[in-house]
Symmetry: D2
Amino acid sequence: MSGSVLGDLFKISTWGESHGKGLGVVIDGCPAGLELNEEDIQSDLDRRKPGQSPFTTPRKEGDKVEILSGVFKAKTTGTPISLIIYNKNQRSKDYTKLKDVYRPGHSDYSYDLKYGFRDYRGSGRASGRETAARVAAGAVARKVLAELGVKIRAYTASIGPVKIDPENTKIETRLDNFLYMPDQKAAKKAEKYLTELMEDNNSSGGTIECRVENIPEGLGEPVFDKSDALLARAIMSIGAVKGVEIGSGFKAAEMTGHQHNDFYQYDEDQEISKLTNNAGGTLGGITDGSEIVLRAAVKATPSIEKTQSTVNKAGENIELNIHGRHDPVIVPRAVVVVEAMTALTLVDLLLKQMTTRLEYIKKVF
Amino acid sequence: MSGSVLGDLFKISTWGESHGKGLGVVIDGCPAGLELNEEDIQSDLDRRKPGQSPFTTPRKEGDKVEILSGVFKAKTTGTPISLIIYNKNQRSKDYTKLKDVYRPGHSDYSYDLKYGFRDYRGSGRASGRETAARVAAGAVARKVLAELGVKIRAYTASIGPVKIDPENTKIETRLDNFLYMPDQKAAKKAEKYLTELMEDNNSSGGTIECRVENIPEGLGEPVFDKSDALLARAIMSIGAVKGVEIGSGFKAAEMTGHQHNDFYQYDEDQEISKLTNNAGGTLGGITDGSEIVLRAAVKATPSIEKTQSTVNKAGENIELNIHGRHDPVIVPRAVVVVEAMTALTLVDLLLKQMTTRLEYIKKVF
Amino acid sequence: MSGSVLGDLFKISTWGESHGKGLGVVIDGCPAGLELNEEDIQSDLDRRKPGQSPFTTPRKEGDKVEILSGVFKAKTTGTPISLIIYNKNQRSKDYTKLKDVYRPGHSDYSYDLKYGFRDYRGSGRASGRETAARVAAGAVARKVLAELGVKIRAYTASIGPVKIDPENTKIETRLDNFLYMPDQKAAKKAEKYLTELMEDNNSSGGTIECRVENIPEGLGEPVFDKSDALLARAIMSIGAVKGVEIGSGFKAAEMTGHQHNDFYQYDEDQEISKLTNNAGGTLGGITDGSEIVLRAAVKATPSIEKTQSTVNKAGENIELNIHGRHDPVIVPRAVVVVEAMTALTLVDLLLKQMTTRLEYIKKVF
Amino acid sequence: MSGSVLGDLFKISTWGESHGKGLGVVIDGCPAGLELNEEDIQSDLDRRKPGQSPFTTPRKEGDKVEILSGVFKAKTTGTPISLIIYNKNQRSKDYTKLKDVYRPGHSDYSYDLKYGFRDYRGSGRASGRETAARVAAGAVARKVLAELGVKIRAYTASIGPVKIDPENTKIETRLDNFLYMPDQKAAKKAEKYLTELMEDNNSSGGTIECRVENIPEGLGEPVFDKSDALLARAIMSIGAVKGVEIGSGFKAAEMTGHQHNDFYQYDEDQEISKLTNNAGGTLGGITDGSEIVLRAAVKATPSIEKTQSTVNKAGENIELNIHGRHDPVIVPRAVVVVEAMTALTLVDLLLKQMTTRLEYIKKVF
């Protein structure tokens, strides 16, 4: 139980290091009868792939996914789906000089404390590259959800001090710039901000917002498996994320009950609707059919060329400049990872909801 | 799997409704040999108990815990520990008039969507009262951790717009006021703010901060079971929490890599230390021995007497004033719940860490 | 994770010692909408209860079950169901003289090896009394299955050398004698055999057979969660069981492929049927709708008054005669426990089957 | 949750079909610091491999295992170990003619009932070939156990009516004949028996016995996770196994308490020993340091050329002769699978035992 397994019913088991032979994931519990091919998965992986903009590492990673099992005649069979992405273009040599140095903001030191030693090549298992397996699994989860009309869309909501303006935001335009911001003006400003940071060999944090439309009602379980709790865990498990909020989030702390409560009313069709969505789509941890809205705070890329103070294993305080091919900002590439984690969480809750009512059982059997 | 089970090795299974016969928890996996008696648990429960200040509901709940199993001659035996708290002083009648109304900010509507019907007495399983079982289990977890010197302390960091000032904050004084704020000046202001809100039949949100000192190194597992991810899930599972952050949290989004990275240095004893703690005690999800710092945003009590618009099951839009005995702010009573959830998460990771190195196995066998 | 939790979706967490305050179980994941009251559970408990025949301990245990949560207006709500049975009529004093002695055939020694000490009162957690909680949970599982017409019936198939004869066996008559044998002639012989053994202060083993009719098709998961594998685990987890077999069982080892294979044919209604049922209702671990047939071998009660050689903690070899109130045979009281474990295993697989096809999901949502 | 995940702490997730691209397993939770290379695993796989005797299918399967992750500089890192075995020499065409036929003794029919359709090439996921992934994972588990001196040895105990004779049995000689019997005389007889069966186009069942020496004390958890219960599940999950017994097994049913109880005595070194081992190494489900002894009944290979009656999907009763390359007996190739399942079960319990005592925690931290 080294922490690489997620989900109870749609259970994924990921593996792989950034400079090993490859990485992959086994999905145990995908329902039978889903149409699935490699292109379905590849399109999500391509959004995570580096080398596509001035604001990601120029490192080229092919990231071609291969389905090894669990699909027969283009449909899932209900048995484990094994996905593999072979590593290409690794330069392990770059890292041997870092093997005795603890890079600030990386997990070099904490891994050594945990295991006594570590695979130091490109952060090994702690590399952001590990998220490729999440995205691959997430693409399958998303396909299951799409069968019910669920739509999951994340985007960059801020880069450093530059935030999207709700007035200028059109979610459909989020892929129209390198930073995946749905506000083109903000994107321009953010690009300028990043360019300056890069000249200073520095990097930037940012935030990601994710919206889920058309989610079935009733997802999430009372107490510990609330939909927002499991989403928070899933999103916070992405390496660089330092905070997660749902709906009103941290603003809720400054609001009164009367301000925060979403009032109900019957709409014209005599359907129940809410006047606001401070809850962010979940009440008591259970979805009510309104849009799920969540946000994640992402820290800046820790690998920077700018001089930092640190230590080596020889007992010395040293100055460190990390050369190499690093993203000046993680946020845009993490957007699809947030979508994947959201999809993986929701599909598991969807399957659980199948088992919560006797009347559902009688419908099926 | 209705979501009331938490933990892999220190596994708790909670049960109970606010207006049923009682509530409780079964702990499966507490190590044998721990000294434990009911007073150890009661003292934490007493901090959650209402009726102790002008800022909590005057409702009296005895909340006396009883140990039913798993302890022999004042020591845990390694077998399940069953804890029970019988309900007293319930007034179910208060709720029958609410059974056909969807209270804003409550889970009445989402429970009906999930299950088709609900136990409407005092929110049933969705009641904040459910957290008593968490606090009881958390007290046991905390005792295990205390054997290794771990200290978990949470406190109110803000009430509505009133925040504690780091300059005036002394963590030792956090229990010296009704609001559990470690800044006595801020506490005064917050009490005034609350008093005014209460006159308006309104309620307030706030934030809770939690600090863990002397945590063993190496806790947390790569990828999905990162210590911060599991903490986020645990904290977000508390009913009223809308956001969670670790270390720098949402501020990280505005910082550069050079600002955010915690630089290492050797201290006088040639021990590795960090100049800052933006990471909040965990890197790559694994504890490095520095203090864990996390924060939660808590929404305002949804039950307010101030008039709200909502709907009933008869298909009518109605005006609602919720009378009864409700907390004007949840935050102070939730402080010990945050501590409990933190303890439960960390003790599970502690037990997991026991199994991660071959050399540990050889030490024991 | 001390081993007292069973099931993934219909998850039970049991607790309690034979001479503690009581024992119980929390069921997390029972579907909402099931009619349930205490009588439903009590009737199964009464079959396990001692003191009802010359062949069980004359010890009286009231074994009254109480539902503490999860049921509202006589229906399950989908939230945890907590069941409690308070202990009555314990005589802990009987056991203090045994606290430094390792009783042969009991787990006194292995518990000390595991935990370093043990609750020695009446075997503590290792007591057969622990199965009362299983029976209580099993009664709920059985009620869910009964909604689909599933019928689970176990009975005594042999006591020592006395076996039921298929020619004389009528399953409906299984409760017509103290030994729960469906062959009344065999029952007579077995009673005689037991009476003689009791005079010699000795005890007997036996076998239990369990049949499940009308089980839905498709239950069981490939590879590790085969229905027969999970049934074997569930049945073998009953303290005194030393062997489990399905269908042809150990006889299969002596059969040829042509003898063992169950041939298919279309019956008059053009439904597929099998000419034999050597498989015992499960092929590849998946139910095919035919009757599930399994058998368990149960060892003799280890507590006997007849002189045994053993050791004490003082380092001495001693002679031991265990006085007290013990069953001369465990088998009849274990019959309902086998039914309970079967029901718990099957209901979990039933809930899992709900999630295995995309078309099922579309039926529900 | 399609049933291909096993273990709580040493968690394996297997995948693959007999005629897909390959099969494999991800191990999540192998302790860090174990020396591991591909040869360690290959030697176990080679024992399962067909084509090595007149009594296995002449089908050649290379079964070369490759380690894809989790090992760095020849040591396990504590992160997931991914193992892959690419399929070679598949002849899917052989199976297209069987796609509309339900083969007796196979899971064709039950898979169709479960999923609505199936991968019919060589039984797909239900193929015995699936066990290659178990053997690979088992080899790693076995290596962990070997670090503590644990020795797991299984062998063929009977083929059809031919049983090994304890008088002639030397466990060290078990690999000296094609059938893996530790009694060379019996092996000769069994070979003769099999040769005759093969001429009749038939197949045989048999039994496997497994012995575990030097097992640490205290493994196994009370109630549901008893060592014997988990072993029974693990062994019964092997496709062709119809029964499992521990120690005295089914003989226990005919024994008296005085016969069955293993009496304790102090040996010359004042160590506690047992005069017999009817318990089979586990009391109350917890190992006591004596040898674990278990037996499995294995049914005959269902694929036989001898004429059988069955049905096709077109609604017809047909005669079936299964041509192709099939083992006349599964038992010898299953011997290493039984060892693997035993190792996987015990290593998981070993890791759990690490967490059961407070004093162990204090030894490590």
